[in-house]
């Protein structure tokens, strides 16, 4: 009986529970089981094949092993934190970045070209970003990009546009590494935007100094039809604070993070909580995915994690949470634009050099039009993203603008990834070329919530 129930097909290996097995199916399933044991190997019946199978610790959740930093409480709990001022606007339609923004984009573009791209393939395979690259990203100021000068950052005013341009430029190197390098700064930016004086004084020094804390914005959950505005992770009010329970997924660099921003439903309203990784009841597990692997994605389990009153980040009326979701989607749009640009940059020379039937394949309309459409949709994605970013920086409502950008970046961005592989044919399918990685990365855009924000 147990044999039969073990052989029931549904619910595992991607088989729907409506599937049934007929007698031949049971026989095949039994043979398959046998084939998976080492019996055949011991009997010498199977050629040993070397396989480099990579996984992050997949043997279940483990407690965070990294030596945790102690965050020393400082500042006043009831006092509002310092807020960056909204960027001023002239009311003029303008696509010209400011001099500062252009300077920043130039620096980051060089970094993306010289450092990020060459490291991308190995980081994808290793599911981790190299330490030297993370160090270098700190040196060019990525973690403090979104912080006002008064909080130890570099921004004079709200920097959603600069953040967008930087995310785009980084993702042109590699999306996974872009997420890995932007994750700590995203938490810092969130604390800058919504933190109390105490939260800013307590946590921001960990991002503005030399030893920058890994940190992650954990909003996504492992659920079908997940609606980020209604997370299943809950926060229950107790005498001294709150108890958090739930599971977050696709959390970047969760294994090394020292601070999380976690979204949870408090009395029916989604709220952000600051959770230190040393908290009792918190555990992480590797959660490698289709793409964005260099970001070291993890699942984060909160098993009755107690946090104090001071852990609430921003308002409890859902407005800070909604703003966080929108700014995060904006960042993912920027990442999609950068990755889409990488695809276009790559396929353009390729189709001109690759020959078939005696001439470059680019001379055929079916190929050339695919490239044209990549260029057209990519530029539309970019303008939609910039429009949302401009509104966010100016302190205007950008909920609709970012929704329109996200729709375009998810749909047309994926199309760009798909066509990028197609244009290289069989060569696009093998890892010798980066287009298969961009294909995997671009799928993330429509479904990722949190992780990064600008």
């Amino acid at each position: 009986m147990s044999m039969l129930s073990n052989l029931r097909p549904g619910g595992r290996h991607g088989v729907a529970s409506t599937e049934t097995r007929d007698p031949i199916g049971y026989l095949v399933a039994g043979l398959s089981r046998l084939a998976q044991t080492d019996l055949l190997d011991r009997l010498g019946l199977r050629k040993q094949a070397e396989q480099a199978v990579f996984t992050v610790t997949r043997s279940g959740f483990g407690t965070v092993t990294r030596a945790n930093r102690t965050f020393f409480r400082a500042g006043s709990r009831d006092k509002s934190g310092v807020r960056p001022a909204a960027a001023s606007t002239s009311g003029r339609f303008d696509l010209t970045p400011t001099e500062d923004e252009q300077l920043l984009v130039d620096v980051v573009t060089e970094f993306a070209t010289e450092v990020v791209r060459p490291a991308a393939s190995d980081a994808d395979a290793a599911c981790a970003a190299p330490q030297e690259l993370l160090d270098a990203s700190r040196e060019i100021g990525l973690p403090i990009l979104g912080l006002p000068e008064s909080l130890g950052g570099v921004a004079e005013e709200r920097s959603a546009m600069a953040g967008t341009l930087v995310a785009e430029a980084l993702a042109r190197g590699d999306m996974g590494l872009a997420v890995a390098t932007l994750a700590p700064g995203s938490v810092a930016t969130a604390i800058g935007l919504w933190g109390s004086d105490e939260q800013q004084q307590t946590y921001l020094p960990a991002f503005t100094g030399d030893d920058v804390a890994a940190a992650a914005l954990a909003l996504t959950e492992p659920q079908v039809l997940f609606d980020v505005m209604a997370p299943q992770t809950t926060a229950v009010r107790t005498g001294e604070g709150y108890v958090l329970t739930g599971v977050k997924s696709l959390v970047p660099r969760g294994a090394e993070a020292e601070l999380f921003v976690v979204g949870a439903l408090l009395e029916g309203t989604p709220v952000l909580f600051l959770v230190e990784s040393s908290s009792e009841g918190l555990s992480v597990e590797g959660d490698p995915a289709m793409g964005v692997r260099a970001a070291g994605l993890t699942k984060l389990r909160l098993d009755g994690v107690s946090v104090g009153e001071e852990a609430v980040l921003g308002s409890t009326d859902g407005s800070a949470y909604a703003a966080c979701v929108r700014l995060s989607r904006l960042a993912w749009c920027a990442l999609a634009v950068g990755t889409g640009q990488a695809v276009l940059d790559y396929v353009t020379p390729y189709v001109k050099e690759r020959e078939a039937f005696g001439e470059p394949v680019a001379h055929r309309q079916s190929v050339a039009f695919m490239v044209a459409n990549i260029a057209i949709e990519l530029q539309a994605m970019r303008l939609l993203t910039y429009k949302a970013a401009g509104r966010a920086a100016a302190g205007k409502d950008f909920s609709k603008a970012v929704a329109l950008a996200r729709k375009a970046c998810a749909e047309h961005g994926m199309r760009i990834g798909l066509d990028g592989v197609q244009l290289l044919g069989g060569h696009g399918f093998v890892k010798e070329h980066p287009v298969e990685r961009w294909y995997r990365d671009l799928r993330a855009v429509g479904l990722m919530e949190g992780a990064v924000l600008v």
Binding site: F93, A362, V371, A372, G390, K400
Partner: protein
């Protein structure tokens, strides 16, 4: 100043006026002239007079086919502005034409003195010709029965005989061909010399040898008449050749094609105006049926109709921003041929997707003549065809992006 893609503040009044005109003058007669094809929309005379008045007072800033002559007019009253941030006549044009086409594309195309021929005159004519053809309503005749997108291949000839050119040939798809005061005709001085020998000629209505053969019955934009015109030994003064009579192979096709560079964003704006009309009405009809888009929640967690609406809005906004980009570049004297083609390609296909999807979303209400949705779905199709089809735009974009010549990428 920072990157800002919101509509320019400066044109808020202009766009608001165009919207009011579209709503209060064009919409009430929209169905009437869709049904009464080939009937002259006499209501437009008053509107045209009003637009003339506005442009004389300088208040309209290119409300119509203002042409593509890039003037040096500064942003009076705005103070000094940084390079690359001028918001001028090109932006004003696309934004106001979008509003007029939100009213009715066919009627906009029928607007007296706002024809494509006027755009050609404004783009190519010398100062003397500009003065001579001021106030003339000019249609545009390029396409021939055997020549559509390959307009370099036209067969209509122009032969110099004394002080006159003699035109012979057949032109089709001439918008307002029967109503306009004059037709700008593309003809070749010498077929052997190829593109460089193609010139445009202004032929006033009533010139002997020019006759309107017939008016087409069309899928959409039925308010706009579309003529077939025959030229038989039609003589025009040689001063009616627009621009230079020299056949300069280096200049190639550029002279004649210059008109298209700035009409592409205008056609994009027509497609966007028409699609916006459909989307505005559909959004309201769906809301009455209980479906509204929640922009914060994922599309897959909302009704299919809401998810579709979100996709349509996203594509339309993308097309609109490409249109604004192309116009902004023209305002700032940046070469925009690539961006203009991107805008027209995206707007053309999105226009069709939006209007057709709106009919489907609204079911029988969308399909019936009781609403205008079915009309907009018919009107929008031409905007993905004329002034360079979808495929021609893709060809232009592909050649630019890939750096290929027209010989390499045919």
């Amino acid at each position: 100043m920072p990157i800002n893609l919101d509509d320019p503040k400066k044109f808020r009044t202009l766009v608001g006026q165009a919207h009011q005109v579209a709503m209060n003058m064009l919409r009430p007669i929209s169905r009437k002239y869709d049904l009464a094809e080939h009937e002259y929309p006499k209501e437009l005379d008053m509107l045209a007079a009003m637009i003339d008045g506005l442009s004389e007072s300088g208040a309209s800033e290119g409300a119509g086919a203002a042409g593509v002559r890039r003037s040096e007019d500064g942003d009076a009253g705005d103070g000094p502005i940084a390079a690359g941030s001028k918001n001028g006549a090109n932006l004003a044009s696309v934004m106001s034409i979008q509003e007029m086409c939100w009213g009715d594309v066919g009627l906009l195309l029928s607007m007296p003195r706002q024809g494509l021929g006027n755009s050609a005159i404004a783009s190519v004519a010398d100062d003397q010709q500009l003065a001579r053809f001021d106030g003339v309503w000019a249609g545009m005749a390029i396409t021939e029965p055997g020549t559509g997108s390959d307009s370099a291949n036209i067969k209509t000839t122009a032969v110099l005989d004394g002080d006159e050119y003699v035109l012979n040939g057949e032109k089709i798809f001439v918008t307002s061909g029967d109503r306009a005061d004059a037709i700008v005709v593309w003809a070749t001085l010498d077929k052997e010399l190829g593109r460089a020998a193609i010139k445009s000629f202004v032929v006033p209505k009533g010139t002997p040898g020019m006759r309107v053969e017939r008016l087409e019955h069309k899928l959409g934009i039925r308010a706009s008449d579309t003529a077939t015109i025959i030229f038989e030994n039609c003589r025009v003064p040689k001063e009616n050749l627009l621009g230079s009579a020299d056949v300069d192979p280096k200049q190639g096709f550029a002279g004649a094609m210059a008109t298209f560079d700035n009409t592409r964003p205008l056609v994009a704006s027509m497609a966007i105006g028409c699609a916006t009309a459909a989307l505005d009405l559909t959004r309201e009809l769906l809301a009455k049926a209980g479906v509204e888009v929640d922009y914060d929640r994922p599309a897959y967690a909302q009704p299919a109709a809401a998810a579709k609406l979100l996709q349509l809005e996203s594509d339309l906004e993308g097309a609109r921003l490409l249109m604004l980009q192309a116009a902004w570049m023209a305002d700032n004297r940046k070469p925009n041929s690539l961006e203009a083609s991107m805008a027209k390609a995206k707007a053309g296909r999105v226009g069709s997707d939006v209007t057709l999807s709106c009919v489907e979303l609204c079911g029988a209400v969308g399909y019936s003549e009781s609403e205008l949705l079915e009309k907009w779905a018919r009107d929008s199709k031409i905007l993905d065809i004329f002034e360079g089809t979808q495929q021609i735009q893709q060809l232009i974009v592909a050649r630019r992006v890939l750096g290929l010549t027209s010989n390499e990428l045919k």
